[in-house]
Symmetry: C2
Subunit: 254 residues, 2 copies
């Protein structure tokens, strides 16, 4: 058992979510697993961190090769606290997911699952996020599991350059056309609120909306891949510098 | 008044924060302002969005050239809801801040102020975030205000390429050496929790930690600029694709 890889798993749908349970089942044969996941849904948590109240960990399961904690914080809190207080050594890989819902394109910015992955990356660890384009709590993860296993094995073998991580999205389909390495699609969320009148008066705004793909014909994008039945792997980096703009701005009088 | 620019302002320290009040005072002579800001502190909110409960807006101030709402959501919620339900037209610029605390380097990922800016950018608007490297609620923003004004005027005049925004950080100093256009520093947060024993038992973990600059001698980085008394402007982009890794991965057998 000493030579088995050690993986840290988390998500943003909460420790009880089916996607995380399926991830655990799929990766257990490959590695020792430590799960530290939120105690309830944290969809859209992005890379948020908690500083206004203290975090606590609750042990849910501890058996050979599998330790599971829930945490009252965000997905990123879970990763930070796992690395600080739970992991017996630095993990070989951080895995986020399997998310119930699409994290491709601009969703990478809002995703708590990708928050897990970005935090792993910020801690200089290889990290991969898996997401299925189906929000249903009982979504069928069957078709994605062999891919999750193969991609995880590949990343464990090949590694990832420091500062990079993977955002893997699966179409909601029974089979896939293959795997494509993609770039982040350029698109915009529109019509994002539905206003309801509170019984005692006043508007309340529920988040909703639809995704407007601004480059639906670009075959190198993650959204194109998903729309055409492919597994989309978007290599992602934590350096957000707009290098192209640096030169332009040197001419600005500031 | 018709030709005056229209600016949307938000932050993550809450609508009552001094940094936002100072921002409003500084930018009022330049533009009509709409403020939609969180009803309390949302430090570290990143680009988190709220889907589990509905949002509400409360009008705090409405006078010629200045409208102020508070919102029960995150910084990104404030921007989304402002654009959806408050703004009389699309703003000419989205401004985040002035944040109480450093948002340079990897902090861009956790920052709610930069969440505001990234959301503006995702909505195809020019966007700038201002942060002062001083967490104190009564921090002295005096030295930064002329720079905030000049940078805002410059961005209104020059525009920003779509998909890019600015992350502007000020050292905590009475005067500055000048302005530098920088890249995001490579660094890691360490020692991130302090464990306290709950009176009834069990550990509670408070977020803390220190920033380890992994390239302290790199003069082109934002942290170097701040350490040496310069205003650091880090051009930032919403495309997080790791283009360099795309080619490498094409050789992987997936």
């Amino acid at each position: 058992m000493e030579n088995r890889p050690l993986l840290l798993l988390s998500n943003d749908d909460g420790v009880q979510a089916k996607g995380l349970q399926e991830l655990v089942k799929t990766l257990r044969p490959l590695a020792d697993l430590v799960v530290v996941a939120p105690d309830g849904p944290r969809s859209g948590a992005s890379a948020a961190i908690t500083s206004e109240f203290p975090l606590r960990l609750t042990l849910l399961n501890n058996e050979p090769g599998l330790t599971v904690y829930q945490c009252n914080g965000t997905p990123v809190d879970c990763v930070k606290l796992a690395l600080h207080a739970v992991m017996p050594r630095r993990p070989d890989l951080v895995v986020g997911g399997i998310n119930h819902g699409d994290n491709s394109s601009v969703n990478v910015h809002y995703s708590g699952t990708m928050g897990v992955v970005i935090e792993g990356c910020l801690k200089q660890l290889p990290a991969v996020g898996f997401s299925l384009c189906n929000h249903a709590p009982d979504a069928d993860f069957g078709p994605v599991l062999p891919y999750v296993r193969r991609i995880t094995e590949t990343v464990l073998r090949e590694g990832l350059p420091e500062g990079t991580c993977l955002n893997v999205n699966f179409p909601d389909a029974p089979t896939f056309q293959g795997v494509r390495i993609c770039r982040q699609t350029h698109g915009v969320w529109r019509g994002e609120y539905e206003a309801h009148r509170h019984p005692k008066g006043g508007e309340r705004y529920w988040l909703t909306g639809w995704y407007d793909n601004l480059e639906p014909d670009s075959e190198d994008t993650d959204h194109w891949a998903l729309d055409h039945g492919y597994v989309a792997i978007t290599p992602t980096q934590i350096d957000m510098t707009a290098y192209g703009l640096m030169d332009t701005m040197k001419d600005w009088r500031l």
